[in-house]
Symmetry: D3
Subunit: 252 residues, 6 copies
Amino acid sequence: MRTRLQDVWRRGEVAVNGWLSIPSTVTAEMVARQDYDTITIDLQHGLIDYQMALPMMQAVGAASDATVIARPPWLEPGIIMKLLDAGALGILCPLVNTPADAEALVRACRYAPNGIRSVGPTRAMMVYGPSYIQEANDAVVTLAMIETAQALDNVEAIARTPGLSALYIGPSDLAQSLGHPIRMDPTDAPVLAAIDRILAAAKAAGIKAGMHCMMPDYARQMAARGFDFVTLGNDVRMLTAELAARVGAFRA
Amino acid sequence: MRTRLQDVWRRGEVAVNGWLSIPSTVTAEMVARQDYDTITIDLQHGLIDYQMALPMMQAVGAASDATVIARPPWLEPGIIMKLLDAGALGILCPLVNTPADAEALVRACRYAPNGIRSVGPTRAMMVYGPSYIQEANDAVVTLAMIETAQALDNVEAIARTPGLSALYIGPSDLAQSLGHPIRMDPTDAPVLAAIDRILAAAKAAGIKAGMHCMMPDYARQMAARGFDFVTLGNDVRMLTAELAARVGAFRA
Amino acid sequence: MRTRLQDVWRRGEVAVNGWLSIPSTVTAEMVARQDYDTITIDLQHGLIDYQMALPMMQAVGAASDATVIARPPWLEPGIIMKLLDAGALGILCPLVNTPADAEALVRACRYAPNGIRSVGPTRAMMVYGPSYIQEANDAVVTLAMIETAQALDNVEAIARTPGLSALYIGPSDLAQSLGHPIRMDPTDAPVLAAIDRILAAAKAAGIKAGMHCMMPDYARQMAARGFDFVTLGNDVRMLTAELAARVGAFRA
Amino acid sequence: MRTRLQDVWRRGEVAVNGWLSIPSTVTAEMVARQDYDTITIDLQHGLIDYQMALPMMQAVGAASDATVIARPPWLEPGIIMKLLDAGALGILCPLVNTPADAEALVRACRYAPNGIRSVGPTRAMMVYGPSYIQEANDAVVTLAMIETAQALDNVEAIARTPGLSALYIGPSDLAQSLGHPIRMDPTDAPVLAAIDRILAAAKAAGIKAGMHCMMPDYARQMAARGFDFVTLGNDVRMLTAELAARVGAFRA
Amino acid sequence: MRTRLQDVWRRGEVAVNGWLSIPSTVTAEMVARQDYDTITIDLQHGLIDYQMALPMMQAVGAASDATVIARPPWLEPGIIMKLLDAGALGILCPLVNTPADAEALVRACRYAPNGIRSVGPTRAMMVYGPSYIQEANDAVVTLAMIETAQALDNVEAIARTPGLSALYIGPSDLAQSLGHPIRMDPTDAPVLAAIDRILAAAKAAGIKAGMHCMMPDYARQMAARGFDFVTLGNDVRMLTAELAARVGAFRA
Amino acid sequence: MRTRLQDVWRRGEVAVNGWLSIPSTVTAEMVARQDYDTITIDLQHGLIDYQMALPMMQAVGAASDATVIARPPWLEPGIIMKLLDAGALGILCPLVNTPADAEALVRACRYAPNGIRSVGPTRAMMVYGPSYIQEANDAVVTLAMIETAQALDNVEAIARTPGLSALYIGPSDLAQSLGHPIRMDPTDAPVLAAIDRILAAAKAAGIKAGMHCMMPDYARQMAARGFDFVTLGNDVRMLTAELAARVGAFRA
């Protein structure tokens, strides 16, 4: 099984990630019809739960070969395994604060003997074929969100967790946790310093680094800085931005 | 019962209309949180059917005092009455091609003795109060879409239909029907001539005129031209525009 | 196939009908757990469309042997046949104003050679067994709503429509159409006179008569008057009544 | 725009059609993962309405390049156009009994000047691209169901309707209407005679002919007889058959 | 941000709470149209999960300025944070048995540095505005359910948990846990003694006390006893009570 | 309260279990219309979450007196209790690896003083009557899945957990965990040896033993081997098998 994300990374390129917060197969398909390499379905802060995530994965599949990633609400093996069985090929786990958290994430995503994932990939086997079980441990990527002061303190150790694919920065939580103001696409020095530390930790450990970005200029800067994976906008903010621009222009 | 649309019109102002094509209460609420005077739920070309329109009306109500209008799939009294019972205070009816069509639209929206609307406003009475049945014939607006060559031929007679509130121009169908290319926010002379004829017919009959617009500049031009009601964008096109702009800028 | 409704009528008793307006399988099951002989799913003024009516029929079936009746939004054969295929054993059709309407209703509910119902009872055959197609023309009841001045003028002829099972009175529409105030459980003389004319027309034609009632006392009076079928309350009004009573008592 | 169905027919081959009656994106994807050329979503006798058909089309698209066909509940332009806007590339219309019915079907599926289809292909344009409106009149196939004695009487004239793509035989309704017993995959002489007349009418008019089949042997016989399009099973009957076989074998 | 609940409490009054167990936006709106100060969506014993709770919050918002509270199924931070992001302004947590439980509840509801709530209030920021993140720690109330013998033993310590807003009594679980019969609106001495101990613990700690009541008389007694927050009925029991009363009266 | 599962076991017979992985009330009803003694709704590897499991339980109830069992995604008390409140009379818990896991399972399913189940059986009391709370501890069965090497090591101790009703073998996970190839209906010696050890542990402890089977022959062998409960197929695999057989036969 080849995934588009792994292909992008094998070519040494930066993966561009779309982001789904709206519980709708229609907006999922609209996002997936853009040239994204991966699409993340957000079950944490997105307004989405499992039963909606499932047809959204189907809608993404109708529109794109982008690799589907899911963000579970919490580091909880039940929902992580359900999302993998439904066809997600990556788990972006919030609030990985310790090496033990990172190890738990990896183990929830791996079949024995590498982990504790239960066997029963109902939709994944439909989509990826009869050898899915043999191939899944290699195909599924695990991304640990680094977004608290505690996680930052532990970041080098987290990055060395065997089987972890990438670190991913959630800048809002990170800023809040460090006592700095929350800004989209932050450029203030202390937050950038934390970002660089996380990036360096990933590189030192030989894994990938991802960054949550809103605007294309910022995402390009982050790619230039060395990130291997950049989120570019999300459905809620993009629709709101365009709505506000048009109504504002008319009402002005 | 006072409606925001009728208040806007009483003040001689132009109503700005939002447009819902995505079957989602979340995008409905997002659109409704903008400063629109009315919100149209599109059951014709929108990807929406009755059972989804109902919670979308609730979501609009959570966010705004905008007047809810519904576009049924067809001039069919069953669905028109269901939408009114669910709380719509306006019906934007597609493909009103003859005075008989316009009369059928009006009668479907009016209780006896003015029409054939069946009594049973299950949600409307919850929302608008116990005197809804007495007030509904005055509160509900009826908008007839003029969008075919046949309708254009009949437009003056259609406009004079007793009880009709407004004509509304669907420029894509109108252009297609007249044999002209389809353009968003059209400015080619023959389509503009048809638009002006419809506008004049409405004014001559003492009713309102509405226009389907995408961009704020064009909507302002149409307001200046004399329209009383302008749609400004729709959810599908706005999200797609912003997505394409961001991904395009990054990929460039 | 025996239906509870037909059994009640064979015994010369009055059928008590529950009424579902809320689009929910849970309220459907709650209503069905009461001792109703029939349960009507209202797709006209109820907030319910086909895709919700289907699991509501299942929920009723989980709780009761009550005969499921559906009220379509309009006399339209497409939705009538879908509701029968889904398992409804009765159609309560709104706004039957002429003998032609009544005949159209009957024909939509009958397989050839008695009508035009299309063959394909996907769920009905699951529920009622492999001989459903042979038995359906006898088992399915057709109830024509008499609720306009026009219908009242035609009521004797409507009642004589071959294959029609019953007349059913919608007192709100009837009062509105006759120019009288709308009242639940009406007792004013002109409306009662219309009610009696309809009841007499049914009896003269040898078919059943049904009445839409809210409170048990009124329903008992109507049963005593000769009605064979009485609706007793509806989910929306019953929940609202109890809510208002409790909150009002506390706030007083 | 090329469709798989048209490619199959250009090659002179027989299209194999899957059939969806269960309202589920999961079963839709399961059926679509088989090697079907087309998949029909049945909104008539299937337990499916528009709002469920939409994500089912997405799920089919995730699994297959099969051409999506929809069967509306009735020859009603509102739902036919909604299904086309949602991405269906074929309409299989029930109960086409007269040439006027056939013409109405074709006109509902064609943009002006060939028909009355309203412009607004919200999802279809997402899926098939910006030139969809120009290409749709050629790409969308129209299949008229011949399933009553009246239709059989008119079949040669129906077949000559300009713009009609195919006749399609519904053997259950046809048998019922002709007064013969209903059988799956019928082989009794009078029904076969009617089948042959319909097939001949299609061939004489230069259009395609389709047949509703359950078992592969029968479908192969029908292909050999000259049919261009054979349905092969449906989801409800196939799951039921396998369930009954396994439970029966165990209980025996 | 001002909440109605906090306003009621600032005025020294008793908040009256509505209760939603039915998974339906329609019943949610019906309850919210009564004069309740708060509405609790019950994801524990109610038949409701996250994806249904979301549009129910919208429906409540369409009908009322009541403060929305959610009861999660369990003290699990993933679902608590999802409910807050969706717009709940209070969390009523079941089975808070120890001070550590209470502290975990508070921390799940508070942004850093007061807790571990992750930043991403997707709908809450739409509803409550751009300064929501700054204001949320003050606006969100935390209610700990005291409903086991263990909790009763620890109640004074639980009440002193910094950041806890209120204790709330679940009398059924409490009675069961203490070995007494379960009664709605209990008046037996040992249960009342436990109730009084909990009330006293809240008062001593300077926080609020809430009680789960069914009938208005009992709720008024509890308000008189000193409770600051009384639930008054729930949707399931109220609809069932009215159904049983009407059907019983007719059948009698 | 009598359950069909307990009746089967009281008679010393083998219960035959149906399995639901498709999130649909229609497939649920189809499976339930077969002669299964129990029906398991799989929220772990099935594509089903709580909000879909609820109407599926209703649909099963419409078709059968089979005892409803639910498999939660994980040993998590919140979801286990929600499933019981919704009407499940058995919990089949995945990955019970230790006696502590088994005890946690039992306690989540039992009211005080036997466990920690919270009182509020909203639907269960509707279905099973007012004495449900008194009877539930006896009626609800608890089935622990033995499917890892660790569980196998602990199986005798797990089997002795007070209140546990049965052990249930998940052969895929068990094989994977033991380092053997995954096979449906396994017959290789090391897996059979593990199966026999689990069966013996159950028998020694005086509890029941269940086995996950696909084909009727294998299920009969397992019944003959001594199992008290055999799953026979699942909806996904049965529909896929029949689809593949028919399409394969035609395409051959």
